[in-house]
Amino acid sequence: MSEKIPVTVLTGYLGAGKTTLLNRILTEPHGKKFAVIVNEFGEIGIDNDLVVGADEEVFEMNNGCICCTVRGDLIRIIEGLMKRKGKFDAIIVETTGLADPAPVAQTFFVDDDVSSKARLDAVVTVVDARWLKEQLHDAPEAKNQIAFADVIILNKTDLVTPEDLAEVERQVRGINAYATIHKTTKSAVPLDAVLGKNAFDLDRILDIAPEFLEDVHVHHDTNIKSIAINIPGDIDPDKFMPWISEFTQKEGPNILRCKGILSFKNEPKRFVFQGVHMILDGDLQREWKADEVRQSKMVFIGHRLDRAYIEKAVEACRA
């Protein structure tokens, strides 16, 4: 079985600097060949051989799961691209400024043909430091895009004062506690900050600073929030798995993303999971290192999540 092709999803509100970032990625000397899937095809020049225009057709899956949507056009395009192995090393999907990232992300979990050939490397969201406050106020899409991100490019930092920048960063952290933030002007960011992130390598959730989480808790300028849970020691999979499955089924529409690294009792390997709405995906990955503290950490990002309930429920899953 050959390696799965990594896919980077580029989101960001209108005018935040997505296309600038995309062209930067494409023109840097990295020797990589990209297939680029763009919307608003032809509006701004994309400097690449393999550019495919997409229609952003969002389909509801008729499988009894109300929040399960996929991008039909993306399934078709990836299927087409995969017939030409060797023509490219990675795929970049640029979404429109108003797009909800959920259907894009879910496509990589729900469609077997796509998930057998391609893997979601990271969702990268470009944020306009100057206009974020207004956008958060006006557009739910802007919040969703931040909530979904693995990497956030806080762009146009030259257009705001240091105080305003700090405030914008707090707002971003308020929505998404675990994403890596890069502050930039003109989307200038090293390539390795956005590519090859391997979203499944969730080690950085283990590094979320507790003060951020406290900050999140008190900072209520948005109805989306992150809830991080840390349980030292082992968890009992026979308790945890039924709970998380039921929880995501019930609260799916409110959970934008969840991720975690778990230490299961008597299991030498780390169990890593991530999910989008009701869809969960997880498996055992590398072994715990000898010098690593065995603990379970997870993050839930969503609307109206009940921190007290989640904490209690996860606590009850201790081995």
Partner: protein, 329 residues
């Protein structure tokens, strides 16, 4: 599973493809491969009407091959010296194609559906969402279009609005039964949906663990073989109610999913290609199996199979560029 006495493996001659096989077939009795790297191999000739661009979709009957590429071109080939451009959707990918009666053809890109009759007259229709699959009805100039939340039936030569049959979900491939009484679509949700055209009655054909992307009618039109499960799932269409209330047959059960099916043109024998490169022949009457090709680890799935007109030879191709011809004893 199969001992040597039940094997046809020595009767398979390898062909060189070296690229994802989009379609394997026979054109005027010559073996034909349409490849994702843009090449069309016909007998000993290699043709490149799409230049270096990819062929994404193709369809073939015994005298015509039609290919659609990521260059937006739709090419009709009836012989090595007979190549014609049917259409050119510049800057778009061709998503679906169909060959119809009286030399008609159809193709689609996004929501745009184009039908071209034998005289070269083209008509356009905009589907409500991307047209994912096209098929002509066996009689008359009528095109079935599979799309999101249903299928539409369009008479390109009439002004009227196409007839729409609704069924929630994303419909992918579409096929008419040989007598034109039924139409079946495959769906994103790992199921098939059917309509009896006379009264629009819905038929659900479910239970697949993956998507069905290959459908093949038996020569008598009584059976529809389908891919997507760990066996070829074969639905009965002989009676007036088609498969309604009936269980399908399962042929060639293995621990690998079926990726391609092709009924023999004269006998109730179905060729079954699997995701691991294995091919079996299975006789419907007694479920007897013959091994055509053992599983090949590096070949990927069987992507296309077709019999010649008399059913003496069968050609196949794989995802990773292997191909071959079986000649029956």
């Amino acid at each position: 599973m199969n001992d040597a006495s039940q094997s046809l493996t020595t009767r398979v001659e390898s062909l060189k493809a070296d690229a994802h096989v989009i379609l394997a077939g026979f054109l005027n009795d010559e073996p034909l491969l349409a490849l994702a790297d843009g090449r069309i191999v016909l007998g000993s000739d290699t043709l490149t009407p799409h230049d270096e661009n990819a062929i994404l979709v193709a369809a073939c009957d015994s005298t015509r091959l039609i290919t659609g590429g990521d260059d937006g071109k739709v090419i009709l080939l009836t012989g090595k010296d007979s190549i014609a451009e049917m259409g050119n959707e510049k800057g778009r990918w061709i998503d679906a194609l169909a060959l119809g009666p009286s030399q008609s053809v159809a193709w689609s890109t996004g929501k745009k559906v184009v039908a071209r009759d034998g005289k070269g007259l083209t008509k356009e229709w905009t589907a409500p969402s991307t047209a994912q699959g096209l098929a002509f009805a066996p009689k008359g100039y009528r095109l079935g279009v599979a799309h999101y939340n249903g299928a539409s039936f369009w008479f390109p030569n009439t002004e009227g609005k196409p007839e729409f049959r609704e069924w929630k979900g994303s419909h992918l491939d579409i096929t008419f039964s040989l007598d034109g009484r039924f139409v079946v679509t495959s769906m994103q949700e790992n199921t098939l949906h059917g309509w009896r055209l006379a009264d629009g009655k819905d038929m659900r054909m479910s239970g697949y663990p993956s998507k069905t992307r290959s459908l093949s009618w038996s020569h008598d039109g009584h059976w529809l073989a389908t891919s997507g499960a760990d066996a070829a799932v074969i639905w009965p269409f002989k009676d007036k109610d088609g498969p309604m209330g009936k269980a399908p047959r399962e042929c060639g059960v293995r621990h690998a999913k079926v990726s391609s099916v092709a009924f023999h043109p004269r006998a109730l024998v179905v060729a079954i290609g699997y995701e691991d490169g294995c091919i079996l022949l299975c006789r419907l009457t007694d479920a007897a199996e013959l091994l055509v090709r053992a599983a090949h680890k590096d070949d990927g799935k069987i992507t296309s199979m077709a019999w010649d007109k008399t059913g003496a030879r069968m050609i196949f191709g794989t995802e990773n560029g292997s191909a071959g011809i079986l000649t029956l004893p």
